[in-house]
Amino acid sequence: MTPFLTSDRWYDIRDLGNLSSAILEALDKVLPFEVVYILAAVIGFVASFLLFVLPSQLFVGVYGERRLIGRMQSRLGPNRVGPFGLLQPIADAIKLIQKEALTPTQADRAVMYVAPILFVMPAVLLWAVIPFGEHMVIADIPVSLMYFLAVSSLPVIATFMAGWSANNKYSLFGAMRIVSMVISYESPLVLTLLGAVVLTGTISLSGMVAWADEFNIWVVFVQPLALVIYFICVSAELNRTPVDIAEAESEIVAGYLTEYSGMKWGLFYGMDIGYALAASGFITTVFLGGWTFFGLEAWIPGWLIFIAKTYLIYFLFIWTRGTLPRLRADQLMAFAWKFLLPLGVFNLLIVSTERMLWFEQDYAKGLVYVFAAVNIALSAVLVYVWARFNGYRPERTPTRPRLVKQAGGYIPVGERS
């Protein structure tokens, strides 16, 4: 065993941290403290970027997404650069760096320049609070769920800056749409998360994983509705395709990205995937029990379980992207205000009542399974009833047109021919 390894498990990547701390300690003896302090911060940032952001972004995000979408669209996807096209993301990045980053003459230059940078920073910062395994979290702050929400509300401002500064009407449309959409979707998003928080009684992500581990149940089983609403809301905030009205390709060309090119565009594109991955990690941690798997984590490294779950959720993002058409902006707003927000309130009401009952029963372990069964049934009923209440009826339109044998004039509906 080398002096740097503290754990006897080969897969424990925390040992890399021991290596860097050993280097820093050695440097501390020769260099002034201030330099080492900043150096440590830089190393931490670069290491987290290299370890979490780059591989997941490039290889899972870009390559995996393109391959999977390719399969869904019955084509091959990238398969030329490197083995199985694995080096395609790198080739893309090189191409993007070579391209000229144009700025329109009438654009607000400073804002347009800063926007992609501002967009990238939160994507990296988000990973700081997500626990990859037991004690494997960069910053285990007690309010990590709020931290995640706070940091993930920053890129919206960057996209707005991008859309506004380009001085292009399509971009302005995109900016307008993203701001109105964030206003609509932020409230149901926070409301549903509040359901999970009330249930587990903590706003620490590690605490939520610990709760799932303790009660041997994932939050998703007790809060199925919350996961659905959160998934929809986060898709809308991240501009994933079924609800990507801010960069709706077929309507407003590329929305806020219309005037971007080269690596500036590349940063937006790459970090879009980064946010989706971070949101998948967040969903995994909050709703799917993080790195635990009903005791399986004793044999399989926790971070592997975590990553597997994250990619599963990310696959859902890809799947919806590959199959669903896009809603119109006004329909999307109506959906948030009329459907998701009331459901979120109902959900919160239910979970608060349950929490109160549970408290009176002194947090009996078996009761949470009862809640799970009740909530799953209740969610289905709630969605159905609320949809009916809102005037929604399942589409009964015949999906086939009428057939007539003989050409002639207008045939009114209902008249047989």
């Binding site: 050409a407 002639g408 004039g409 207008y410």
Partner: protein, 174 residues
């Protein structure tokens, strides 16, 4: 099978509704008087017997000394197709009445005929050069407009290249 009305059949239909509207007939077409055109077509459209509701085709033809505008109008219920024509004899400024008030679908085709033949459609709500740009010299489908570059163009008396150099062909729109 669609019955293609002969000129005299079409003329009989038109004459029954609007007396004195027919100029002359040929084997395939019925020539209407330009001043009675809109009235006649409206009557033919609204009459259940004629029922000519669908203006299929509208185009202009240049016969060197005069222009003709051809209307192919059909009926869905009767399943027949009639061909009406009007003539415009003014070479410099040919003008026929517009049938857009009767058939909404005529507006783009009339714009096209105006664009390529220079036929003015009186009463058209928005007659503009739909395919070519504003300020294009000449009317390309006229017979005296030569397709080869440098050919003589009607109404200009000059060569195309010269005309283009004198005034910018593209008018800056706002």
């Amino acid at each position: 099978m669609t019955r293609e009305l002969t000129g005299s059949e079409a003329a009989a239909l038109a004459e029954a509704l609007v007396p004195g509207s027919v100029d002359r007939t040929t084997e395939t077409a019925c020539y209407l008087k330009p001043d009675r055109l809109v009235e006649t077509l409206r009557a033919l459209r609204d009459d259940p017997e004629a029922n000519l509701v669908h203006l299929t085709n509208l185009c202009g033809v240049d016969y060197w000394d005069h222009f003709e505008v051809v209307y192919h109008i059909q009926s869905f219920e009767k399943n027949h197709l009639a061909c009406f024509k009007v003539e415009a004899w003014d070479r410099e400024k040919p003008e026929v009445p517009s049938v857009t008030p009767v058939f909404h679908g005529a507006w783009m085709q009339e714009c096209e005929a105006y664009d390529l033949f220079g036929i003015q459609f009186a009463g058209h709500p928005n007659l503009y050069r739909i395919l070519l740009w504003e300020g294009y010299p000449g009317w390309p489908l006229r017979k005296d407009f030569l397709a080869m570059p440098g050919g003589l163009q009607p109404g200009l008396g000059e060569f195309a290249g010269v005309a283009r150099r004198q005034e910018p062909p593209v008018k800056v729109i706002e």
